[in-house]
């Protein structure tokens, strides 16, 4: 997996590279917008990590230019600007995800992983399958080893997200943003309670627990 990091803060970029390399990603760095655009045009990247504010060409312009030229490589925006309007502007420019600085490595890696996965599943699926867990998106039914599992609407959404990102770590913030569409940090980890409820529904009575807690990161659904 190759990643392009377009970030003018050298130290931050180096740290990011180390963290991503640790997680098995191959990184290339660019220190400003023009250099980043040049590198991205060369192609061959699975994900672009683009800082919003860059010398010579800002991140939003960079991504807009790429998209106009038909490049659909997933983009993760990094920004110190956390306002809703900033996020919306970033996503409208063609960004796929938006991470506000400062962030934890785990958060960055989880989001990059999520973006690489997004590419692989291009076609529309009606049935999700992870190990012996099955989700019918049209009938809105969930089964594990043919045993039907009754889920609340939100639990269904939560499980759908986890299944779409099976094998990857997903963070609490990701769940809050993608499943609940909240962009603030609750004081209490309310997500944990929701996940543990879901866990009790899909793992109870089965030998192999699927919904695992990843220390320091979040959760992972394993086959």
């Amino acid at each position: 997996m190759r990643i392009l990091i377009v970030e003018d803060d050298l130290e931050a970029a180096e740290a990011m590279e180390r963290g991503l390399a640790e997680a098995g990603f191959d990184c290339v760095r660019a220190a400003d917008g023009a250099e980043g655009l040049e590198a991205a045009r060369g192609g061959g990247f699975n994900v672009l990590i683009v800082d919003r504010m860059l010398p010579r060409m800002n991140g939003v312009t960079l991504v807009e230019t790429l998209r106009r030229q038909g490049d659909a490589t997933p983009v993760l925006f990094l920004s110190a600007l956390g306002e809703v309007s900033d996020r919306v502007a970033g996503l409208q420019a063609g960004g796929d995800d938006y991470l506000v600085k400062p962030y934890a490595f785990a958060e960055l890696i989880a989001r990059v992983e999520a973006l690489t996965r997004r590419r692989e599943t291009g076609s529309v699926q009606t049935l999700l399958r992870v190990g012996d867990l099955e989700m019918d998106l049209i009938a809105r039914e969930v089964r594990r080893s043919s045993k039907e599992i009754d889920l609340q609407p939100r639990e269904f959404q939560l499980l759908e997200f986890l299944m779409r990102h099976a094998g990857q770590s997903v963070t609490r913030t990701m769940l809050l943003e993608k499943v609940w569409d909240y962009h603030f940090d609750p004081q209490t980890n309310v997500i944990d309670v929701h996940v543990s409820r879901l866990r009790s529904k899909i793992d109870k009575g089965f030998d192999k627990p699927m919904l695992q807690t990843v220390r320091g990161a979040g959760y992972r659904l394993e086959a």
Binding site: G82, A104, Q187, V193, H194, G216
Partner: protein, 479 residues
């Protein structure tokens, strides 16, 4: 030349203007009175002289000079005799009560004149004012008829004196009244100006006196005072916010630094594994960042002064969403959770901020209510029309004396010092309420029941029609 201050005030200038108008009106009125009284007296004398002249002329035409003389003799005995003089065609005096005609250069056309007659009063010779008419008779003689007008003149003098008096009184009263009024008004304005000057000089505690007259000056003073109250509170809030930020960030940063230092010392001395310390340090950092995030959000809301990116949404729907997020947490903690949501209450607000505010209120309720208690979420329309989202819990509550303080920015209660971010949570709610022209209210909960209570009711009130919308009254404006 510099006029005294009182003469430079707007009220005094207005007073002068009105005084001028008033004086003009009074002059017209007094002139009318003069014409109607003094003028009338003079005209009446003239008419009497003319009538006498007609009578005598008629007598002359009937029977000549003798008839006139006869009439003059008869009239000489009357109480207030006219003055007569009959002059022959040769200009010589024929008869009469005066020696010579006061009309100089009589040409033959009727001529009026004002003159003086000599008289004796208590033995002293005096001149009395008189008026007369000389006309030519058919036979070439001419006749002069005059009247003593001393009494009329005296009357006119009296009237004129009275009128001058009245005029002077009008001007004096007007001036005095004007000075009084302008002194009163400029005193009020001076009071207000003094407050403005004091505030400009940095004294935010200055307040304008409200005199209790309930006039526009009182209204203005009250408005100014209220504005200053808000400003002072806000300034105090900012000052306090600085202290609170320092406290909220400095303590965890100090902890973090100490932890790193200890870990460093340990590693240097070759003792133990720093992993634990580093992990703790990361957690501390996250805590600091979380606090920082909230402080930033509050600062943004305050700086904007209004909710950014407002949208219209159903408050109950949003509350249901947030409730769904927190319901499992309540269950986990052994709390009974219930909600009562009135649908269809549309508010225009920043959805994210209102969601966060509700989450913070619920968070606090869950945090402070012991197991076995209950948390209730309500959305309703107030009788005032405002939308209200409230959370009632059966926790220990907040003493009444502290409630107002809790709603203020960055205030923590002593006994909640150990629960991180609690004060900040409600501070954010307060900032959200303020930015939406709403309010954060704290009341007692359901009261004390056994171990539970008295509880707390925290309400976020959002105006039914936000200020921004109410200003938008359909009249196109340039922006």
């Amino acid at each position: 030349m510099r006029l005294p201050r009182i003469f430079r005030t707007t009220p005094f200038r207005l007073t002068l203007l009105f005084l001028a108008l008033f004086a003009a009106a009074a002059s017209a009125f007094l002139a009318y009175i003069y014409i109607a009284t003094a003028g009338e007296a003079a005209r009446r004398t003239d008419r009497e002289i003319e009538r006498e002249m007609r009578t005598l002329t008629a007598a002359y035409e009937r029977a000549g000079v003798d008839a006139v003389n006869q009439s003059l003799i008869e009239r000489a005995a009357s109480e207030r005799p006219f003055l007569y003089l009959l002059i022959g065609p040769d200009g010589r005096r024929i008869s009469g009560s005066i020696e010579a005609s006061p009309v100089e250069h009589f040409t033959g056309t009727p001529a009026w004149t004002t003159f003086h007659v000599s008289d004796l009063e208590q033995g002293q010779p005096i001149q009395r004012p008189a008026r007369g008419l000389q006309e030519r008779l058919a036979g070439g003689e001419s006749l002069f008829v005059g009247a003593d007008v001393a009494e009329d003149e005296a009357y006119v003098v009296k009237v004129v004196r009275a009128l001058w008096g009245a005029g002077a009184l009008v001007i004096l009263l007007g001036l005095a009244g004007g000075i009084l009024v302008s002194r009163n008004v400029s005193q009020s304005v001076t009071n207000l100006t003094g407050v403005v000057d004091a505030v400009r000089g940095g004294d935010l505690a200055a307040r304008a006196p409200v005199r209790g007259a309930r006039d526009e000056f009182d209204e203005l003073a009250a408005g100014l005072n209220e504005m200053l109250d808000r400003l002072e509170r806000s300034m105090a809030g900012h000052r306090h916010a600085g202290d609170a930020i320092a406290h909220d960030l400095r303590s965890p940063l100090t902890r973090l630094r100490a932890r790193l230092e200890v870990a460093y010392l340990d590693v240097e001395a070759g003792r133990g594994d720093p992993t634990q310390a580093l992990q703790q340090a990361l957690e501390d950092t996250d805590g600091v960042l979380k606090t920082f995030q909230v402080v930033l959000a509050i600062a943004r809301l305050q700086a904007a002064g209004a909710a950014p990116d407002p949208t219209s949404f159903d408050l109950a729907e949003l509350a249901a969403d947030v409730a769904e997020l927190y319901a499992p947490l309540c269950e986990e903690k052994g709390l009974e959770f219930d909600s009562e949501l009135t649908r269809g209450l549309t508010v225009s607000a920043n959805r994210d901020f209102v969601a966060q505010a509700l989450a913070n209120i619920l968070d606090n309720a869950v945090k402070y209510t012991p197991a076995g208690g209950a948390v209730m979420l309500r959305v309703r329309r107030r009788t005032s029309g405002d939308a209200e989202a409230s959370v009632t819990d059966t926790g220990p509550g907040v003493p009444e004396a502290d409630r107002a303080r809790v709603a203020e920015r960055f205030v923590r209660l002593e006994n909640s010092r150990n629960a991180p971010g609690a004060g900040l949570g409600l501070s954010l709610v307060a900032a959200v309420a303020e930015a939406h022209a709403g309010a954060l209210e704290l009341d007692e909960g359901p009261g004390k029941v056994g171990e539970l209570g008295p509880g707390l009711r925290v309400a976020l009130v959002l105006p039914a029609r936000p200020e921004r919308a109410s200003r938008d009254d359909g009249i196109p404006r340039r922006s």
